[in-house]
Amino acid sequence: MAANNSKAGQTDKCASVHVRRVIAYIVLILISFLCLFWFYVLFINATRSNAELGGGFTPVPSNHFIENWTNLKNGTLPIFNGMLNSLIISVLTATLATYFSTMTAYAIHAYQFKAKKFMFTFILMVMMIPTQVTALGFIQLIGKMGLDNTAIPLIVPAIASPAVFFYMKQYMDSTLPLSLIEAARIDGSGEFKTFNQIVLPLMKPAIAVQAIFSFVASWNNYFTPALVLHEDKKKTLPILIAQLRAADWLKFDMGQVYMMIAFSIFPVIIVYLILSRHIVSGVTLGSVKG
C-alpha cells in the first residue's frame, strides 16, 4: 500500500508513527503466538504415545510420531477415504453456498420486483431461527426422502445459506455499483452472463471469505454427518475421529487420536492458504469504481 509515498515531514508525526508501529508489532506477535500455540500443542501431542498423553501437557515433542502414524494408517478406519469424503462434501458445500448465495443476493440487489423487500426480510428471519431447531426435523425428512446414508443432505441444502446471502448482499451494497450492470446491459450482455462474467469476479474477496467459512464449517461438522452416514467408507473425518475416541480399551490410543486430528487439519490449512490469497490480496474494486 503506497509504500513509497511517505511524505511525513514533521519529526513528531514520524515518532508517533514509530511508536504506533512498535505497539502494532507487539500486539500482532502476541496474537500470532496465541493463534499458533494450539497447532504447536497438537503437533506435540501427535508425537506422544497414549501413556505419555495420560501424563498431561509437556512442551517437548516425543518420539512416537511415526509409530502413531503407522498405527493410524494400518488401523481399520478408512482415513484416506474419510479425507476424500470430507474434501468432496466440503468443496461442494462451499461452492454451492457461495455461488447460489451470491446469485440470491444479486437478485435482491440488482432487480426491482414486487416481492423483493419481503424476500430480503424473509431470508433475514430465516437466519434468526436457531439452527438446532430445523436440524431435528431435517433428519426425519432425510429418512423419508430416502437420502439416508448419502452425501446429498450434507451438500445440497447449502444452496440456501441465509448468512452467506446476507454477507454477499451487504458486500454488494458497499462495493457493487448498479451503473456497472447497466453498462453491461448496454453492451448487450445477457443477465445470466453478466452475473457470471462480471459480477462474480468482482465479488471474489467476499466469495473467498465465505467459501473458507463454509468449507471449514462443513469440514468440522460432526453431528449431521454422524446421523446421516452409516457406512465407514462414506464417513467424514470428524466421525472417524469420534469413532477412534470411542475405541474399546484394547485399541484406545490418544496418540492416534491426536495424529488423526493433525491429519484432518492439514488439508483445511492448505485450502485456507489458497483461498486466503484472494482475500488479502484480492481484486480491489477501487479500480472499477474509478
Binding site: 500500500m1 509515498n5 498431561g56 446469485m103 425428512l141 446476507f166 458486500y171 467459512f213 486466503s276 474509478g290
Partner: protein
C-alpha cells in the same frame, strides 16, 4: 414504452435468480420448521423408545417454560458470555483491520499476520476443548506456572468457579472466532478504494481521522452484518460451553446458554417443549436483531 417493457424483462430475472434458494429452502428447511412450530402446541416426546403423544395441549408448553422461570437466567448467562467474547473480539478485529489498511504504518509481514489470525478457527471445537482441559487442569501447566511465580498457593480449579468457567468459554470462543470477524472486515476494507486513503493522507489527515471518517463509514454494511450475525451467533452460543462444561453448564448452570437448555429437551426428543422453546428463542432473536438493524440503518441515513 419500449424501455419499460425492457426493465420488466430484466426484473423477471430477479425471480429467476431466487429460484434455487427458495426451492432448496422449502424442501430442506421449511417443512421441518413448520413442524417445529406445530409441535410446540403438543405434548410429544419419547420415554426411552415409547412415544408419548402427540396430544394437543394448546399453550401449555409455553406456560411451562415461562413458569419455571429459568429462561431469564439462561438468557443472562448467554448475553454475559457473548459480551465477554464479542467486545474484545470486535475491538481486536477493528484494530487489526485499521492497522492493516493504514498506509502510514507500512507493517511488514502483513500477509503472515493476516493468514495466522484465522487459523484457530480451523481446529474443531472438540479438539480445542481437549487442549483447554489439559492446559487448565489442576495439575496443568497454567496452574503450575502460576504457582511457581507465587501468584497461587494451591491449584486454582478453573472449571469449578463461575467466572473462571465463563472466562474460559469466552476466551476459547473469542480465539476461535476473532479471525473470522477480522477477515470479514478486511474483505470489506479491501473493497475500499485505496486511493481514498492516500488522498486523505496527502490532505494531512491523521490515522485516527482516516479510520473514523473513511474506513468506518464505508465499512458500515459489513459492520451491520458483523453486528447482527454476531448477535445471532451469540444467542445461539452452544458448542464451546457444551463441550467445556460437558453439557452441564456448571457451576450451578451459571454457564448454561439458551441453546444448551434447548438441547436438554432434545435428549427425550421432546418436540413439544423443544418446539415452544425454539419459537420463544426465534422471537427474542428477531426482536434483538431488529433493534440492532434499526439503530445501525438509522445512523446511516
Amino acid at each position: 414504452m419500449n424501455k419499460k417493457s425492457k426493465v420488466v424483462r430484466y426484473n423477471k430475472w430477479g425471480y429467476i435468480f431466487l429460484i434455487p434458494f427458495i426451492v432448496t429452502y422449502v424442501v430442506f428447511q421449511l417443512v421441518p420448521l413448520v413442524s417445529t412450530v406445530y409441535n410446540s402446541f403438543f405434548e410429544n416426546y419419547r420415554s426411552g423408545l415409547t412415544q408419548i403423544g402427540p396430544n394437543f395441549v394448546g399453550l401449555q408448553n409455553y406456560v411451562t417454560i415461562i413458569q419455571n422461570g429459568d429462561l431469564p437466567t439462561y438468557f443472562a448467562n448467554t448475553m454475559i458470555m457473548w459480551v465477554m467474547c464479542f467486545v474484545p473480539q470486535i475491538i481486536i478485529s477493528l484494530l487489526l483491520g485499521a492497522w492493516f489498511t493504514d498506509p502510514s504504518l507500512r507493517l511488514k509481514c502483513q500477509q503472515f499476520f493476516k493468514t495466522v489470525i484465522y487459523l484457530p478457527n480451523l481446529i474443531m471445537a472438540s479438539a480445542f476443548a481437549m487442549l483447554f482441559f489439559t492446559l487448565f487442569a489442576d495439575s496443568g501447566p497454567i496452574n503450575s506456572m502460576l504457582m511457581q511465580i507465587g501468584v497461587l498457593d494451591e491449584a486454582y480449579k478453573f472449571m469449578s468457579n463461575v467466572w473462571s468457567v465463563r472466562t474460559l468459554i469466552a476466551t476459547m470462543n473469542c480465539l476461535m472466532w476473532f479471525g473470522n470477524t477480522t477477515i470479514l472486515l478486511m474483505a470489506g476494507m479491501m473493497g475500499i478504494d485505496t486511493s481514498l486513503f492516500e488522498a486523505a493522507q496527502v490532505d494531512g489527515a491523521t490515522a485516527t481521522q482516516i479510520f473514523y471518517r473513511i474506513t468506518l463509514p464505508l465499512l458500515k454494511p459489513i459492520l451491520v452484518y458483523v453486528m447482527i450475525t454476531s448477535l445471532i451467533g451469540g444467542l445461539q452460543l452452544f458448542d464451546v460451553p457444551q463441550i467445556l462444561t460437558n453439557g452441564t453448564g456448571d457451576p450451578m448452570r451459571s454457564s448454561m446458554t439458551l441453546i444448551m437448555y434447548l438441547n436438554k429437551h432434545l435428549y427425550s426428543k421432546n418436540f413439544g417443549l423443544g418446539g415452544a422453546l425454539s419459537v420463544i428463542l426465534f422471537i427474542v432473536t428477531g426482536i434483538l436483531s431488529l433493534i440492532v438493524y434499526k439503530i445501525t440503518v438509522k445512523e446511516e441515513d
